[in-house]
């Protein structure tokens, strides 16, 4: 089974406010608010850790979620953010663009 690797785009500005992560793409001004689970995935998107491992170690261990459902939700979340250029997705490790 091939792995999915995710990295934060360098075009992104992000800020935590009142427990929510605000994420904005400087190229097209799209704006997202991430919930706690999405924030955990976002913060772990270093380009080197497989998504499956992020879900197992950062999501399932911290939140009361079903592992299979968590993996499905994470893939949907990653797919949506990648269409907006906020996350980079690959089947091999990536160099994170974010500083």
């Amino acid at each position: 089974m091939s792995e999915t690797y995710i990295a934060r785009s360098s075009a992104i500005a992000a800020r935590m406010l009142a427990g929510e992560m605000m994420v904005m793409n400087s190229m097209d001004s799209t704006f997202f608010t991430l919930n706690e689970v999405a924030t955990a995935i976002w913060q772990a998107a270093d380009g080197r850790t497989p998504l499956r491992e992020i879900v197992r170690n950062r999501v399932c261990e911290q939140f009361d979620v079903d592992p299979e459902q968590a993996q499905t939700d994470a893939q949907e979340f990653v797919a949506e953010l990648s269409t907006h250029g906020i996350l980079l997705v690959s089947d091999h490790p990536l160099a994170s663009e974010a500083p």
Binding site: I12, A13, R15, L17, A18, M24, S29, F31, T33
Partner: protein, 275 residues
């Protein structure tokens, strides 16, 4: 206004930032003085813009292009081309002698200066009531000009279109601007601490509703004027927006367009800060 080294110069102070505008043309200098008559200043300029007038170029609604090369900013649209060096505080503008290009260049220049200083220009009407500034933000048609038209006597109108906000003693302060919308009237050149920001929505009654921090930041970022697809700038503005939302009450104001809406604004004073 002065004539220095063969240049006709005047200093226009918006938001407490005096900018020297110079030109070879006496008639263009007169246009500058007329356009910004309520904002002329004798203060020492912090920034200098040299206007080089051209014959060619058409006034355009094309999207403005703002890009950074190293520390230098380049600003271009069909009707003007400008360069800005934030380190020296100097720049130049090549444009035809018309006031519309002039306004656009000044708005962009101030948006860049403000971004670096933790402030912003906002698509919002603003007014001072009982010593406090209130901002009314929204897209075209949301009611910005209507709010200013409904303002009772004794209220100072800062702008009906572009609000000027920057940090100051004890929080954020709003300043009057000469940038007018439908009202076609320059704002008053005064300032006051920001007491609240309202996102406007027309409705059958007057009421204010709390909104979440995320919704407030989203609304703010949607209405802040910024022109560059520059990550550093966006990062700075997002940080400023979050700081503003954390410190200034922000509400949705549903209003029926009659003067009683200002009673709702007045009664809002003293409510607790944003939660």
């Amino acid at each position: 206004m002065t004539i220095a080294a063969g240049k006709y110069t005047c200093v226009v102070e918006i938001g407490g930032i005096p900018v020297s505008l110079s030109t070879d043309s006496a008639s263009f200098r007169d246009l500058l003085c007329q356009r910004y008559s309520g904002f002329l200043s004798s203060s020492r300029a912090e920034c200098e813009l040299d206007f080089q007038l051209t014959e060619q170029g058409t006034i355009s609604d094309d999207d403005v292009r703002v890009r950074r090369e190293g520390r230098q900013w380049w600003i271009e649209r069909g009707d003007f081309r400008a360069h800005w060096d934030p380190d020296s505080g100097r720049g130049w503008v090549k444009q035809t002698p018309n006031p519309y290009s002039l306004d656009s260049v000044l708005r962009i220049l101030h948006s860049l200066i403000l971004a670096a200083r933790g402030g912003f220009l906002l698509h919002a009407a603003s007014a001072v009531c009982d010593g406090r500034a209130y901002l009314f933000s929204g897209v075209s048609g949301a009611g910005k000009t209507t709010m200013t038209r409904l303002a009772p006597s004794g209220i100072s109108l800062l702008t009906d279109e572009i609000s000027y906000v920057r940090p100051g003693a004890g929080g954020y302060w709003a300043y009057g601007t000469p940038f007018a919308g439908e009202l076609a009237k320059s704002g008053e050149n005064c300032t006051a601490p920001v007491s609240a920001l309202f996102f406007l929505e027309k409705g059958p009654e007057n009421r204010t509703d709390e909104i979440s921090s995320a919704e407030a930041v989203r609304g703010l970022m949607r209405n802040i004027l910024f022109f560059a697809d520059d990550r550093g700038l966006v990062e700075k503005l997002l940080a400023t927006a979050c700081d503003f939302v954390a410190g200034v009450p922000i509400r949705r104001l549903t209003f029926y367009p009659d003067p009683r809406v200002w009673d709702t604004i007045r009664s809002f004073a003293g409510e607790p800060a944003h939660v």
